[in-house]
């Protein structure tokens, strides 16, 4: 097992100006499950491949433990790329299917057997070791494939969208399996996905990337509670955070007919580039339905209501917006108690819960102090 360090690691593809990965600094702890997440083209897969040795590192370096692996061949890095599409060999037993790579490496029979048995125990496959893959269920076969990577006892597991080819149901169950398996094994794991739900549910920490630049690293809760900029705020969480840019009037942001007070620290951090505006964010689940007269209440004209049983979501617009205000998405989303759903077409009032209002610079998108 080992730590992993990206130290100013940069990848510039030949013939392009903008780096695919730009001075990535990231330290992953021993045994940690780190998820690289972001939209397509953000550099997450490239980062993983730099760690695997499949992409060149043009600047900076990459360390596994204390070893600089920047110029080491992939097979000599002591990593395992895990993907779900391993083929299983029909004439070989489950034990041979799991251990054959060790046999290739010339490992002693006894040691192979020991490792295979250990892995089988973790994977609940002990009683099947002598059987052929044909006798196994789909889920068991997938675990055999995992076992093949586990028996190698690599220092780091690398996974690049391993669930993307599975159907939705299998994706959820495999997600849980991988996460719990990683915790039992305690092997440092770097996992790439474009799906923020996968990232939130699996990672010890998440690194959000955009355009080759690291946006924020932190636990799922940190990313959710304190997104460091507008991009992270809009990317993490489902449904997405409501975000809009509104004029500042005195010590408050003017959102439609209401005024949301801003702290002195926030006001002090506003610069001339912000042009007298701030970007305000609030999650659909951070809103309470309130009376019209409540301080800070925002009016919402409800267009559509989605009832999901456990939850309900109201989609609507904020009336009387200032002409200089702009919303990231034209509709505001409000999560409500499914037993007290606002009526379609009605005007309802919502207030942002204490401490759940996010304020960002209108010019840079960076988070402003509260």
């Amino acid at each position: 097992m080992a730590t992993v360090t990206f130290d100013g690691a940069t990848r510039i593809y030949p013939g392009t100006e903008r780096p695919a990965v730009d001075k990535l600094n990231l330290h992953i702890e021993d045994g940690e499950f780190l998820v690289l997440v972001g939209p397509s083209g953000c550099g997450k897969s490239t980062s993983l491949r730099m760690l695997a040795g499949l992409e060149e590192v043009n600047e900076g370096r990459i360390m596994i433990g204390d070893r600089d692996v920047t110029d080491v061949q992939p097979k000599d890095r002591d990593i395992a790329m895990v993907f779900q599409n391993y083929a299983l060999y029909p004439h070989m037993t489950v034990a041979d299917n799991m251990g054959f790579a060790l046999k290739i490496a010339g490992m002693h029979k006894e040691e192979i057997r020991k490792r295979v048995e250990e892995a089988a125990k973790i994977l609940d496959l002990s009683e099947y070791l002598g059987r052929k893959p044909k006798a196994l269920s789909g889920g068991q076969r997938q675990r055999v494939a995992m076992g093949r990577a586990i028996v190698r006892q690599p220092r780091v597991f690398l996974m690049d969208e391993p669930l993307s080819n599975l159907d939705a149901k299998l994706r959820v169950s495999t997600r849980t399996q991988i996460a719990s398996l990683q915790r039992r094994l305690g092997v440092t794991t770097v996992y790439v996905t474009h799906d923020q739900t996968e990232a939130l549910t699996m990672g010890d920490r998440i690194a959000v990337l955009k355009d080759g630049l690291l946006q924020q690293v932190g636990t799922p809760l940190e990313q959710y509670d304190k997104p460091s900029n507008v991009f992270v705020a809009s990317f993490i969480g489902s449904p997405a955070m409501n975000l809009g840019t509104f004029p500042v009037v005195g010590a408050a942001a003017k959102v439609g007919d209401s005024e949301l007070p801003l702290t002195r620290a926030t006001i002090a951090a506003i610069t001339p580039e912000d042009d007298g505006k701030v970007t305000i964010g609030f999650r659909p689940e951070s809103l309470d339905l309130v009376d019209a007269g409540t301080a800070g209440a925002i009016a919402v004209e409800v267009d559509i209501v989605e009832e999901l049983g456990s939850d309900a979501f109201a989609y609507g617009v904020i009336p009387n917006l200032d002409p200089t205000a702009s919303l990231q998405s034209p509709q505001v989303i409000v999560r409500t108690d499914p037993r007290a759903v606002p009526k379609k077409g009605a005007v309802t009032h919502v207030a942002i819960r204490e401490g759940e209002q996010h304020v960002f610079s209108a010019a840079t998108g960076e988070r402003l102090p509260n």
């Binding site: 593809y13 030949p14 013939g15 695997a52 040795g53 499949l54 992409e55 060149e56 061949q73 992939p74 097979k75 993907f83 779900q84 599409n85 083929a87 299983l88 060999y89 029909p90 004439h91 070989m92 041979d96 054959f100 790579a101 046999k103 290739i104 893959p133 044909k134 076969r141 993307s164 080819n165 599975l166 159907d167």
Partner: protein, 418 residues
């Protein structure tokens, strides 16, 4: 997402297939055959408008990705299965979503590797398959394609005279780059090595491997052969002395390996005594192109070598050396190649490709001549070959869904004459 079909040359008959059923439940009257072995995905072969198509059920994202990759490979002129289309947005009869389907055209006369090992008598099969796979891998890498899951089962083989030609079948994990890094290439080869050893060990476990074949040695050999071919095609070389002769020698060596040189860089050093030469663009199919130009026959590289050799022999035999090459080629097609193919009864023509039949007839004739100590005329050799060999062969035009464990042995020929 609504039901949709992405296809380059859409066949309306595609709409007749029961897309609202999971592939596993497709009725027997639609499905031509079931594939064998353990597959990650459900795959079925169907007959449609006179073609055999392979249908694979996978997630929509993966289906579109693989379709794009296969399209790109056909643009690069790399041997791969031809993509037909992607059917996505499928729902079953109660409206629940189904996975997408990737449709590819079944490669005629192709053989899965297991079918080639169905007989343990053929010497050297593993080695010949390896050569074909190495050639394919190098071509893919020259084109910037990283396969990511190289294996014998993700490859189909076509007979190519005494050798095989390999075709990529599964591009699910593939990626196309402007150029591959050394790390990508060597990792791909390392994956190939591991997978091939695993596949051979599996054949061994099923008693399907020649007893002398050591899977690990075959896997190690793959790397060595790959590195040799890659170096021959790409390495910079410094030559001294008679540069003209040495440049010609390098080009000759590449031609011998079956490649044409599209661009060669030659840079002299400051002293003027040395010249650095490096192939920049190499194109496979040197012999196949030459044969196509001379005769219009479109065959595989080693078959082309065979036919060209035979054509040369014919030219000498008839004293046509002074005639143009084109004239000699025309005469050979009219008096040797076509009569041989026409002598094959129509009902046996689905057994092998014409160029392969021609190759085998020539081999057969050589053995007959050896055995009988006389010069066997071609017409006699053809008849003997048809009765003794071809009639007993399985039909390889569309060898699909065959349980390779129960296949009759392939009456393959002994090793070719030296």
């Amino acid at each position: 997402m609504a039901f949709n079909i992405t296809a380059a040359a859409p066949d309306p008959a595609l709409l007749d297939l029961p897309w609202d059923l999971p592939l596993e439940q497709w009725p027997a009257d639609v499905v031509a055959a079931l594939p064998r072995g353990i597959s990650r995905h459900v795959v079925r072969f169907v007959k449609l408008s006179g073609r055999v198509l392979a249908v694979k059920e996978i997630a929509p994202r993966a289906a579109h990705h693989e379709y794009r990759m296969l399209r790109a490979l056909s643009g690069l002129d790399v041997p791969a299965v031809t993509p037909v289309g992607v059917v996505a947005g499928r729902t079953d009869r109660s409206g629940d979503p189904l996975d997408a389907a990737l449709i590819t055209q079944h490669l005629q006369f192709s053989l899965p590797y297991r079918a080639l090992f169905a007989n343990t008598l053929v010497p050297d099969t593993a080695s010949r398959l390896l050569d074909a796979l190495v050639a394919l891998l190098v071509r893919l890498h020259l084109g910037g394609f990283y396969w990511g899951d190289v294996s014998l089962s993700n490859t189909l083989f076509r007979r190519d005279a005494a050798a095989f030609a390999a075709y990529l079948v599964d591009a699910e994990t593939g990626e196309l780059h402007a150029e591959l890094t050394e790390g990508q290439r060597l990792y791909d080869v390392d994956l190939a090595r591991t997978n091939i050893i695993g596949e051979l060990m599996d054949l061994e476990a099923g008693n399907r491997l020649e007893p002398d074949t050591d899977p690990v040695a075959v896997g190690d050999d793959l790397l060595a052969r790959y590195l040799r071919l890659w170096a021959a095609l790409t390495e910079e070389e410094t030559v001294f002395g008679n540069a003209k002769w040495q440049v010609a020698a390098r080009i000759g060596e590449l031609n011998r390996l079956g490649f044409d040189v599209g661009e060669l860089s030659m840079v002299g050093d400051e002293t003027g005594t040395a010249l650095k030469i490096q192939p920049k663009v190499v194109e496979p199919g040197h012999h196949a192109r030459r044969l196509l130009r001379l005769t219009g026959l479109n065959v595989q590289e080693n078959q082309a070598r065979r036919l060209l050799n035979d054509m040369d022999a014919h030219r000498h035999e008839l004293g046509l050396q002074d005639e143009s090459e084109e004239f000699a080629a025309h005469d050979w097609v009219a008096h040797v190649f076509e009569p041989t193919i026409k002598a094959i009864p129509a009902d046996l023509r689905g057994k092998l490709e014409p160029a392969q039949i021609f190759h085998e007839v020539q081999e057969h004739r050589w053995f007959m001549s050896q055995q009988e100590g006389r010069y066997v005329p071609i017409a006699e050799a053809v008849q003997h070959y048809v009765d003794q060999v071809l009639r007993h062969r399985r039909d390889e035009a569309s060898l699909i869904g065959v349980d390779t464990l129960s296949l009759p042995p392939v009456p393959d020929l002994p090793a070719p004459p030296p």
